[in-house]
Symmetry: C2
Subunit: 196 residues, 2 copies
């Protein structure tokens, strides 16, 4: 396997918490490369999430089965994002959701054990970790707001503006459940959309 390049991860760390390149390299020292094939699972329901992945290339989604057995997409993850069940990872409880690769993916990952060790050894890592969680929270909150304020069509419009990759690779029904509507409705919305 060709040696993967850590640059995107290092740049991401520096973007979250400004620091020297050398320090950033030190922070990500424990991250290991991984390739995940299309349709492969990164995490399954009932399992404690034990790794934190950073996506270099590819697209993933997380989903759950609701009470009626419907597959509900809870998030999409593409380049420079961390697909994981934060609750499961940090609280060491079984995951309630699945995470699956939509396309072939390449990631850098670190185990829970190594992350805890780095938390203890490097104050910058702690700070990076905290800011990263806060950012996840911010993303989720923004999405919550869009559910409260916007129509399904507006949410769809925002999604294709912000993440073309999802549109091109994820099947319509997964996008629909992510937006909180049915695939039928999304198909109609898309039709109206083309006219404009």
């Amino acid at each position: 396997m060709a040696q993967m390049n850590k640059d995107s991860l290092i740049q991401f760390v520096q973007h979250v918490l400004p620091m020297s390149g050398g320090k950033a390299e030190q922070l990500v020292e424990k991250f290991e490369p991984r390739k995940i094939g299309r349709n492969e699972y990164l995490l399954k329901e009932g399992v404690v999430c034990n790794e934190s992945h950073f996506i270099v290339e590819g697209l993933m989604r997380s989903f759950i089965y609701d009470l009626e057995g419907r597959d509900v997409t809870t998030a999409f993850y593409s380049r420079a994002m961390f697909p994981s069940d934060l609750l499961s990872f940090f609280k060491r409880v079984p995951s309630k959701e699945y995470i699956q690769a939509i396309t072939d993916c390449e990631t850098w990952y670190i185990s829970y054990k190594d992350m805890q060790a780095s938390f203890h050894e490097m104050p910058e890592f702690r700070e990076f970790g905290r800011l990263n969680i806060i950012n996840q929270y911010g993303i989720l909150k923004q999405r919550m707001l869009s559910m409260l304020q916007e129509t399904a069509e507006q949410r769809y419009s925002a999604l294709i503006d912000s993440n073309q990759e999802v549109l091109q690779n994820a099947p319509l029904k997964h996008i629909a459940s992510y937006l909180g509507i049915t695939d039928t409705s999304l198909s109609r919305i898309r039709k109206d959309f083309i006219k404009k």
Copy 2:
């Protein structure tokens, strides 16, 4: 002003991260009491959130004005919750939302500066802080899921089951915008609900 009792805060800390009572007392040493009157603002848009409050008694809500100028309730906060704009507090950016007391409130609060100091001095405080943020994330995620999967009526039902205090003190229009519907719709849902 009568001396407020720190027990509920101490118990909360121990609940989030099990530790001895003495250790817990040490953790919350920097928290100061505060009384907030009905309708008073804890935080306003454009201001950097500088304090983290723990509610001992009372009810608050956070809200924003959307692009059309509508008042949208983003959260309710009651006993043992932390009303704050996490993003503003930890990233030191201006808040996008308001936080206002619905009833007279009593809180224990700590300043950003003191919290940072405690983070550096006490590993347990760091761990408590991280778990606390993760828990906030979990609450938000759960609410996101309810928006994706449940009808407005189911969300209303869940709210009155879990937080009677909101129902009794918050005006219907604020509950409605929190649920993502109009006050008209909520009034109808409530009517249907009584029949059952």
